[in-house]
């Protein structure tokens, strides 16, 4: 049973003018798999390193099981960490790499042997225990790094972009393995990545960060369906959300520049009007899969359609991605590949505004 509380944590490096992490507050529950995600330089790695004790906390408190550990040395925090470049000791065999921490903690020889073999079985590297890291592939090295964390039996795992150095295919399979490992060991895990797919597929909860600040915390479903602001909307999801600059006029939104207008569904309209956006500018965000080309949709919602030109059409198998253009505005639609369209074709698409998101163009916060 372990709980982690980050209370108003700030980080400022000695020679920096600005804070790298600002007012970071988060409670992490026992056995939870939390993913910090954000673009590079958003402070996610800094935060995980503060939790590990590799960086000082400038302000705020870090609590492990209710105890403030700001000034504890890394080794006393009982945390295991997996690094992006694996950080294996190059001169030691896989066995020695995994047993290094145990030896230092004065475990008995038999105990060490049992734990290492046990961990090697879990990560599937039993035959490689005598090898040096240089004789292993990238994926195997990352497994050793995981094994090194497993043998410690530490209550908290920190993973700092552990899959970034692997090739795309390996990344997908290791992603599943780490998720499986978490289900099996039930260790509280904090995982840092810049890859939103990793975040979406692995996390119990996602923490989205930008410029050192938390943008939103929630389950993958929550942050996908209800982004708190424009940044979250644009960052989560692949391909990214499409954005349109529009003005709310009566019951329609208009884009005068690109010359189209759409009818706003009633429920949504009420919210927008009640929040005082009548006649005001808005940012409409709509995910590629909420843009439809099927005749049924277009027939039912004739007032939610745009006439566009398809610039590029990518067939991905079951789906096609259409890079469309209306006026100067470009957007992507993800449609069933049965509706595959040749590039250059003119096309009427329907925007499902019930699933659309409206953001304030100034504050970038979600309105609806």
């Amino acid at each position: 049973m372990v709980e982690l509380n980050l209370e108003h944590i700030y980080k400022k490096y000695d020679n920096a003018d600005d804070y790298s992490v600002t007012d970071f507050s988060l409670d992490i529950k026992d056995k939870e798999f939390v993913v910090f995600v954000g673009p590079s330089g958003c402070g996610k790695s800094t935060t995980i390193r503060m939790i590990a004790g590799l960086e000082d906390i400038t302000e705020g408190d870090l609590l492990i099981d209710g105890k403030v550990v700001n000034d504890e040395l890394p080794k006393n925090r009982d945390i295991a960490m997996v690094f992006q470049n694996y950080a294996l000791y190059p001169h030691m065999s896989v066995y020695d790499n995994m047993s290094f921490g145990l030896k230092l903690r004065k475990y008995s020889k038999e105990d060490i042997d049992e734990r290492v073999h046990n961990a090697a079985r879990i990560i599937g590297l039993e035959e490689y225990l005598d090898r040096k890291p240089a004789a292993l592939s990238g994926g195997q090295r990352q497994r050793v790094a995981l094994g090194r964390a497993i043998v410690r039996d530490a209550p908290i795992f920190l993973m700092d972009e552990p899959l970034s150095n692997l090739d795309a295919k390996l990344r997908v399979s290791m992603r599943a393995e780490i998720a499986k490992l978490h289900r099996r060991l039930q260790t509280t895990t904090i995982y840092v990545t810049h890859d939103q797919t990793e975040a979406m597929t692995m996390a119990d909860r996602i923490v989205i960060m930008k410029d050192g600040k938390i943008q939103q915390v929630g389950t993958p479903q929550e942050v996908y369906d209800n982004p708190a602001n424009l940044f979250v909307g644009s960052f989560i999801g692949s391909p990214a959300m499409n954005f349109f600059d529009v003005t709310l006029q009566n019951n329609r939104i208009l884009d005068r520049k690109n010359n189209f207008s759409l009818e706003v569904p009633e429920g949504c309209l009420k919210v927008l009007q009640s929040k005082g956006y009548a006649g005001k500018r808005l940012k409409l965000g709509i995910r590629p899969e909420d843009i439809h080309t099927e005749n049924t949709f277009i027939k039912v919602f004739p007032n939610a359609t745009i006439k566009t030109t398809v610039n590029v059409s990518e067939l991905l198998g079951a789906e096609s991605q259409l890079y469309c253009k209306v006026g100067d505005q470009e957007f992507i639609a993800k449609v069933n590949s049965r509706d595959h369209i040749q590039p250059g074709a003119e096309l009427i698409v329907g925007l499902d505004l019930n699933k659309g998101h409206f953001f304030d163009p100034e504050t970038e916060l979600t309105i609806y």
Binding site: P74, K75, A87, Y89, R152
Partner: protein, 276 residues
């Protein structure tokens, strides 16, 4: 690859090998002659009808050598060499410090260390002698050892190499519970093996061949080193070539053996410098 091309390559390789072998033989000839002569009697060496191989093999020269105080010189040399190795560890620690620890004045300090490399040793010899004299360390082994304990080039080499070790390895070790001291011995040093090998050989050669500084600092024969002692063998009136050959062989052979064993590492070490 066509057959003729392969053949011409083989030919050129053969020619290169022959040329190298000839030059190698010419190079090694004096050493061989020195070594063989050390088993000749002095009379045989000075004979007009000089022979390459000893007519009569004798160990007399080596026996005389060690009766003439060479044992003592050997002891001194070994002590100096041993402490040079201790010094090498200090250099490794300094290099580690410069490479991996952030502290105030690190840059300035490192530049100062490098700056000492630009001053020739001969320039500092007299000031260092005067300092040691004030410390009453002239004519002592301590005085001979002390100035050689640290070397800027060695620190520089260690720093360059250790800089390349990923920080996250050290961080992982810290999380594993290693102390800074433990990390130095169990992670930094083993990874730095190539530099250690180069530095070790240079240190050994330096210690083993220590000549000028011990000669200046030691007045007393009991602090002489092998190379200083070797020079003593050259008598003023009579010259015993046999004993000189034995002394020279005794000095050169260990270095040649070590070089042959470790030449792989020496080349590797110089490659490290080349990578920079």
């Amino acid at each position: 690859m066509s057959n003729s091309l392969l053949k011409s390559q083989q030919n050129s390789r053969f020619i290169v090998s022959v040329i190298l072998a000839v030059f190698g033989f010419i190079m090694i000839l004096p050493f061989l002659w020195m070594f063989l002569s050390s088993f000749k009697t002095n009379a045989e060496i000075v004979q007009n009808t000089r022979s390459f191989f000893p007519k009569q093999w004798t160990l007399e020269n080596y026996r005389n050598l060690f009766h003439s105080g060479f044992t003592l010189y050997l002891r001194n040399t070994l002590i100096i060499t041993f402490f040079s190795f201790v010094g090498m560890l200090f250099n490794a620690m300094a290099g580690y410090g410069f490479a991996k620890f952030k502290f105030k004045g690190r840059g300035v300090l490192f530049i100062m260390v490098l700056a000492t490399m630009m001053i020739p040793g001969q320039v500092t010899m007299i000031p260092v002698y005067l300092i040691l004299n004030q410390m009453h360390l002239t004519n002592t082994l301590t005085g001979i050892i002390l100035p050689g304990l640290v070397g800027a080039f060695s620190i520089f080499l260690f720093r360059q190499f250790i800089s390349n070790i990923s920080d996250s390895i050290l961080e992982a070790a810290r999380l594993d519970g290693a102390s800074e001291w433990y990390m130095f011995w169990h992670i930094i040093l083993p990874i730095s093996k190539p530099v250690l090998a180069v530095q070790g050989i240079l240190t050994f050669i330096g210690g083993w061949n220590a000549f000028l500084w011990p000669l200046i600092l030691a007045n007393d024969e009991k602090y002489y080193t092998l190379s200083v002692g070797l020079q003593l063998l050259q008598g003023q009136h009579t010259t015993d070539y046999g004993i000189q050959m034995a002394g020279s062989s005794f000095m050169v052979i260990p270095i040649i053996i070590i070089f042959v064993i470790f030449q792989k590492y020496i080349l590797q070490g110089f490659n490290i410098q080349g990578d920079k």
